[in-house]
Amino acid sequence: MAKVHVTTTINGEPAEFLCEPDKSMLDVLRNTLGLTGTKEGCGTGDCGACSITVDGRLVCACLMLAAEAEGHEIGTIEGMARGEALHPLQQKFLEMAALQCGICTPGVLIAAKSLLEKNPDPTETEVRFGLAGNLCRCTGYDKIVRAVLETAAEMRETAQ
């Protein structure tokens, strides 16, 4: 199978890879590029564990062909912290125990970041619907929702 050569940007760094035309972005991130922070929970877009951003827009990496990354900017969990400095959401998730097993956490964090970028002052309902594409089976969502709301409040305060 003739491979496609893709030139793209991942977490701000230029990246190049070869992939089969039918490989998903998720497959290439995990198995070609070694970026295993993006998780596969279902492979059909129903769990959100593979949430990434493409040009800042939230998508499931399992529902995107890797070939489509050409010329776009991909954001994954590995790019969320700046060096040792965690993103406020990452920090708040730790402080408020918004994770148990942690498998959904990278996807939830990427989705929550995307949500707060669009809506810095969400209601509980907006957070719940904003994260409805991210299944979590451990937490019952309570602490996740609280952590997102609390982070939003702190980020608004910092921004002032």
């Binding site: 059909t44 097993c101 942690g102 509980e124 937490t139 019952g140 309570d142 609280r146």
Partner: protein, 757 residues
């Protein structure tokens, strides 16, 4: 929520009861934590499983020659390669019978469900492996299949296993279990009110987000290394050893981070196949299930068909209770009978009880454990019947529970005589909670009705084997190793305990989960046992370390070790008589370790005892859209005796997570089969687990009543929270609609149909 934390913090405790950041946290929020599917190895190849397309079929032959000839294929295994455990002789590993496990990981005589493994292939990549699976020729003789319990127990049902006999005849009833107290018929004769109802539930899946995955490397010297996520690396080692014939001493099982288990990962599916493929190919083999494979071929928990009858006197005294529980085992014996049979009536002191469970096989994947295995099935039936009894008696349902609550010395039908019982406290916590007293607006809008329901639950909890090693590093910090996979934050609790006992900064304690070659045997993470058992062995290990530290200080000061105390992370003379010495810190003692007798560290291996049972009582408000039949949960409060919350956040998390799983079980989750016996909803789209917008905040009420048999007072908390929700929600729906539902899930079509009756 922080208010709770302050209340929980015991006077003088610096770390226990506080919300510290978990030791594995940073890795998990940055994507660095390595789960089973994240592992790769040089030279690694990929394994795939060929699965039965039939629900029930004799396997006449399996021809793998074409698959083996495909370029890129490195190995093929079939049932012939798996160790056979003949059906007439039971070989147990914990609660698992290897006769059934060997037939579960690979179909032997027959394919018993759609998705049953027939063969496995390893090839240079997943695509070639999948193509090779398609080239395997299997000659099936398709047999009639049976899916539902009521069909499987009919006299003319297709029989799955000729060797299973019930009442002398071949049967799909694989076994029974009875719990008995007094004489139920005599008890019912005394009753003024008797309610008897029949209930049905569907199998539900644990729904962990991480599919099963492993990498196995079998080396030329006969030693194998397994990376996989499980609820017990020692279980992985033992079960893989039994199924492959490789001795345990030659297997190292490394626990990856586990992406949810909820009981399901207390057994294995892929590891023995990957080991055998690696052995044949000479290459490390990675296998990862798809979500569809997880849904089809790993064990959900049982569906049930139960009848419960409860009799009470006019004053509310329950005089007799009887339960008959038909529980799905899946295609091989081993349904969780102990859950419904033992737990259904356990919160109550009832003089006459007869509880009988039947283990029913049918052409579904073999069930696996799921959070308080089987207990929610029994509680659903019993707690709904209790609600009706209370109604008939004109009694508040919580008053009825209080009146009959088990007390110290009460005898449970399953055999225990209770010591400390904290059930009343959970009922009282709900009865006096603002939620239970708050007025409920019953018809807030046209077409909408609201209701409130309560229910209680019981889980045994467990102790068992655990090992820990506590080592002081040369620079005076602490490394704790335990043998239990951490599914929900147990490392955080262990760090709190160790830092507390040693009197040092929390950040100086590292906690890791050892592999099978680096820590002593430790039983499964399951049964709500890990925090209980590991805190116990870690406490004892840390105490031994403290003894060593006192001895070292005594040696330096040339005084008696008895004259040295350990306080706030330092050795100090016990009193003025001991002498005047400046304190020696952990760092100072570590620096002098070698000259004063060698490395400092201690390990403890124990079969832990004293895990007293857990009780829970819940209240829930629901809202029903009467035109569409949709039930939504508006408010939920869950009270539970948690013993001591070493880390309150993760205790709350257990309660909140368990409740939401219960909400899914009650309202939206179910296994659906088509007429050919194929699972029709093998994915997260149509297997409907609650999403974030489906549920409200879940308020945990943690009652800290220390377990006197544990050094910190810990009681298991993980399982009891899933026991009450099914009945609590059913009772709330009744309160809203005046209609009782005797079958789960209460899905919209079912609710609307009932409303139109």
């Amino acid at each position: 929520m922080n208010v709770i934390s302050d209340k929980l913090q015991v006077e003088g405790n610096r770390w226990i009861g506080t919300r510290t950041v978990r030791p594995d946290g940073a890795d998990k929020v940055t994507g660095r934590a390595a789960y089973a599917a994240d592992n790769t190895m040089p030279g690694m190849i990929w394994g795939k499983v060929l699965r039965s397309p039939h629900a029930h079929a004799v396997i006449r032959s399996v021809d793998t020659s074409k698959a083996e000839a495909l370029p890129g294929v490195k190995a093929v295994v079939t049932a012939r390669d798996i160790v056979d455990f003949p059906v007439d002789k039971s070989v147990m590993l914990g609660i698992q019978d290897m006769r059934w496990m060997c037939r579960n990981v690979m179909a032997r005589e027959k394919a018993l469900f759609h998705g049953h493994p027939i063969a496995a292939v390893a090839a240079i990549n997943e695509e070639v492996a999948a193509e090779a699976c398609r080239l395997i020729e299997v000659d099936y003789e398709v047999l009639p299949h049976v899916i539902e319990i009521e069909d499987a127990i009919r006299p003319d049902a297709p029989i799955l296993h000729d060797f299973l006999k019930h009442e002398g005849k071949p049967s799909n009833i694989a076994g029974t279990m009875t719990a008995k107290l007094g004489d139920v018929e005599a008890g019912f004769a005394e009753a003024d009110v008797i309610v008897e109802r029949t209930f049905r539930t569907r199998p539900v899946h644990q729904g962990y987000i991480e599919p099963q995955a492993c990498t196995v490397s079998y080396a030329a010297d006969g030693r194998a290394t397994i990376w996989s996520s499980s609820q017990g690396q020692f279980m992985v080692r033992a079960m893989t050893s039994l199924l492959t014939g490789v001795p345990q001493s030659n297997i190292k099982a490394i626990p990856a981070e586990i992406g949810g288990g909820f009981g399901a990962k207390t057994i294995i599916y892929l590891e023995p196949l990957a080991l055998l493929l690696s052995k044949k190919s000479g290459r490390p083999v990675k296998m990862v299930m798809t979500r569809e494979e997880v849904m089809r071929a790993t064990g959900p928990t049982s569906g049930s068909f139960s009848t419960v009858r409860i009799g009470a006197k006019k004053d509310g005294t329950i005089v007799a209770a009887q339960g008959t529980f038909y529980i799905q085992a899946g295609c091989l014996p081993g349904g969780p009978l102990r859950g419904p049979v033992g737990c259904a009536f356990a919160p109550y002191e009832i003089p006459n009880v007869l509880s009988v469970g039947f283990d029913v096989v049918s052409n579904r994947s073999k069930v696996a454990a799921y959070r308080a295995p089987g207990a929610p099935l029994g509680a659903y039936a019993a707690e709904c019947v209790l609600d009706e009894v209370a109604e008939k008696l004109g009694m508040d349902p919580l008053e009825l529970r209080l009146k009959n609550s088990a007390k110290p010395g009460s005898k449970a039908a399953y055999g225990a005589t209770f010591g400390k019982v904290t059930f009343e406290e959970t009922v009282e916590a709900i009865r006096t909670h603002e939620h239970y007293k708050a007025p409920l607006e019953r018809n807030p809008r046209p077409g909408v009705r609201r209701g409130r329901g309560v229910a209680s639950g019981f889980w045994y909890n467990a102790g068992g084997e655990s090992s820990a090693q506590v080592n002081i590093t040369e620079d005076g910090n602490v490394l704790v190793t335990t043998g239990h996979p951490d599914v929900g934050g147990s490392r955080a609790s262990i760090a709190n305990v160790t830092a507390e006992l040693l009197g040092i900064e929390h950040g100086r304690v590292s906690v890791q989960i050892g592999d099978t070659s680096s820590i002593g045997f430790s039983n499964l993470t399951g049964g709500s046992r890990v925090t209980f058992a590991s805190a116990m062995v870690v406490t004892q290990s840390t105490e031994k370390v403290i003894t060593q530290l006192r001895e070292r200080a005594a040696k330096i000061w040339k005084i008696d070790p008895e004259a040295v105390t350990w306080e706030n992370g330092e050795a100090r003379p016990a009193g003025p008589n001991a002498g005047q010495f400046p304190p020696l810190t952990l760092k100072e003692l570590a620096a002098k370790a070698n000259e004063m007798g060698g490395p400092i560290g201690a390990g403890v291996q124990l079969n832990t005892q004293g895990a007293d049972p857990g009780f829970a009582t819940h209240v829930v408000d629901v809202e029903v859209d009467v035109d569409l039949g949709i039930v939504r949960v508006l408010r939920y409060t869950a009270a539970q005796d948690v013993g001591r919350a070493l880390h309150p956040s993760y205790v709350e998390g257990q309660i909140q997570g368990g409740v939401v799983q219960g909400i899914g079980w009650a309202l939206s989750e179910e296994y659906l089969y088509d007429r050919q016996g194929r699972l029709d909803n093998a994915g997260f789209l149509d297997y409907r687990m609650p999403v974030c917008s489906d549920v409200p905040m879940i308020e945990p009420v943690m009652l800290e009543i220390p377990n006197p048999k544990h050094p910190q007072g810990v009681r298991g908390v993980g399982e009891a929270p899933i026991v009450p929700p099914l009945a609590a929600i059913a009772n709330a729906v009744y309160d809203a609609l005046g209609k009782r539902f005797y079958s789960l899930p209460m899905s919209p079509p079912k609710v609307l149909e009932a409303l139109e009756e």
